[in-house]
């Protein structure tokens, strides 16, 4: 279904692979289940404004990821993080704790930084998602990425995509006016290597307009 609807076939081919082909086969099977009368009756019974998606039924979700429209089918339990990594093969967003405690999975949804590990993909329908992959324009790094390199804002690098997404948002929100404020508003992003002083320097540098 998604393939037929796509006005631009080329990108669809790009992200397709064995897994995706299986997924499409499966999903057309689930789509068949979806129009079974039982499901429709159930929706009418409870006077819902939308149809209930069953246990293993995949739900169609439209979202924009880094400026590109995506039509996807997901089980209700799939998180935005798993959707990005497993279905869209975008590995930039990291799975750290998977319980909303570390911030490694931070992405922007409709301009706000959120934890993708605690966001259900079905609830992001119609929203705009920006990941670390969406910060660069061509080969040019985002100033925050440049600053993390310049100030050595990481060691192992695993928390870095989340730190950078959070740092960019921190400035946009207007919460980067002092080192203390940066530390407070970056507290949702843990760095077990302990690169905190340099992360604060990098964010403060970008805030001051440094390139």
């Amino acid at each position: 279904m998604a393939q037929n609807k796509s006005p631009n076939k080329e990108p669809e081919v790009k992200c397709s692979n064995e897994g995706r082909r299986d997924f499409l086969k499966q999903s057309s099977l689930y789509a068949a289940f979806a129009i079974m009368p039982a499901a429709l009756v159930k929706a009418a019974e409870t006077e819902m404004d939308e149809k209930t998606a069953g246990y293993f039924e995949k739900v169609s979700v439209s979202l924009e990821v880094n400026g590109r429209s995506r039509e996807l089918l997901v089980e209700p339990r799939v998180t935005l993080l798993d959707l990005l990594r497993e279905q869209l093969n975008m590995m930039g967003t990291k799975k750290g704790c998977d319980h909303g405690q570390c911030g490694a999975c931070t992405v922007h949804v409709d301009g706000r930084r959120v934890l993708s590990c605690l966001s259900l993909a079905v609830m992001q329908d119609g929203k705009k998602v920006t990941t670390i992959e969406g910060l660069t324009s061509g080969d040019k790094l985002h100033p925050m990425q440049e600053a993390f390199i310049k100030f050595d804002g990481f060691q192992c690098g695993y928390c870095t995509p989340g730190q950078i997404m959070s740092g960019v948002a921190c400035i946009i929100e207007g919460h980067a006016n002092s080192d203390d404020e940066i530390r407070e508003y970056m507290s949702g992003n843990l760095c077990r290597c302990g690169a905190y002083p340099n992360i604060v320097k990098a964010i403060a540098h970008v805030k001051k307009g440094g390139q």
Binding site: A43, E45, T46, E47, M48, D49, E50, K51, T52, A53, G54, Y55, F56, V59, E75, P76, R77, T79, D98, H99, G100, G103, T106, R112, R113, V114, L115, L118, S119, L120, V122, M123, S166, A169, C170, E173, H175, R183, E184, Y185, S187, G188, N189
Partner: protein, 327 residues
């Protein structure tokens, strides 16, 4: 995560109906606590009803009441100009909780509905009367450093985790709810409950009752407020003890006080007796210390949390010093 059915609703009637008709259904708003609990297997609703499209996000002045829709985000409320001007204590408490990412997802209603972070509740291998009634309280004789010192029972010594709610109980907020029998208002003080013999119930809502808004009446406290949160790290940790304080002074005399404590009870713990003690007293550290003694009268600790018997009154005294400018 165990799979579940899923539906979007866009009216409060449909939202209420969904829970009344379907015993396995549960609402989801920000999901910051529920999704985590579902991953841990602590909660496994058969159906999630997404209520984010309901029109309950408005923050407005309604006569002499500040009205905050239940779906307003924690970050929106914390940074809202009207909230900062009229009820700055609420803004301070919200900013002391969670991280900006979580505040960007979490709603006001969801904040009130969040479950305890007691490790026995969170670990399905351990006993917990709140998660599984009848299995006993693992924390009572177990590891209970984070646990309650006020109003606990033999069945449960868990604490309510919110910061926002500590401010709201101090500010005499009311909760507007809509359920199968229509709308009603609940005093914030009566919204959450003590564990007693039924710790599985965190609050006094009936099945199918949806939080529509919180409403805070005008007061004279304005900027003479303070939220002091003591925790294991400076930011992004739950409170060991927190104090919300709002004071009116006439000269050096306290004419009115609102005090509440977090991290110490199964519900946001209002310190009414200490408030009454402070009325018409001249502000001084000695008086604050006496008020703290009054506040601590019914306190009881369980071993690892013995330190809270000292930390709680000290936190109250420090909050009072800050709010009265007697630092």
């Amino acid at each position: 995560m165990i799979n579940f059915e899923y539906i979007n609703v866009s009216t409060s009637e449909a939202a209420v109906n969904a829970l009344v008709k379907d015993t396995g259904a549960q609402w989801i708003a920000g999901g910051t606590n529920l999704v985590d609990l579902m991953k841990k297997g602590v909660m496994s609703p058969e159906k999630l009803v997404n209520i984010n499209n309901l029109p309950f996000r408005e923050i407005k002045k309604d006569g002499n009441i500040l009205h905050i829709g239940a779906l307003a985000l924690n970050s929106e409320v914390a940074d809202n100009e009207l909230v900062k001007k009229e009820q700055p204590l609420l803004s301070l408490a919200l900013k002391a909780g969670a991280s900006q990412q979580i505040r960007n997802m979490a709603t006001v209603g969801g904040n009130m509905m969040q479950r305890t972070r007691c490790p026995y509740f969170y670990n399905t291998d351990l006993p917990c009367n709140k998660r599984e009634p009848g299995t006993d309280c693992g924390a009572l004789k177990g590891y209970n450093r984070m646990h309650a010192i006020f109003g606990a029972s033999e069945k449960c010594i868990a604490v309510h985790p919110s910061d926002m709610c500590i401010a709201l109980v101090a500010l005499d907020a009311t909760v507007l709810v809509k359920g199968p029998k229509g709308e009603r208002s609940v005093a914030f003080q009566d919204f959450h409950r003590l564990p007693g013999d039924t710790p599985q119930k965190d609050n006094t809502l009936e099945r199918g009752e949806l939080i529509v808004a919180i409403r805070i009446p005008d007061n004279q406290f304005k900027q003479q407020v303070h939220y002091l949160k003591i925790r294991d790290r400076t930011s992004y940790a739950f409170a060991l003890v927190s104090v919300a304080a709002a004071i009116n002074m006439v000269g050096d005399k306290i004419s009115d006080a609102r005090l509440a404590m977090g991290g110490v009870s199964h519900k946001p713990w209002r310190l009414t007796e200490a408030e009454n003690f402070l009325k018409n007293k001249t502000a001084s550290e000695a008086v604050f210390r006496q008020a703290a003694d009054v506040a601590m009268r019914s306190a009881k600790s369980y071993g690892h949390n013995n330190f809270k018997l000292k930390l709680a009154p000290n936190t109250l005294v420090e909050a009072l010093k800050a709010v009265t400018g007697k630092l």
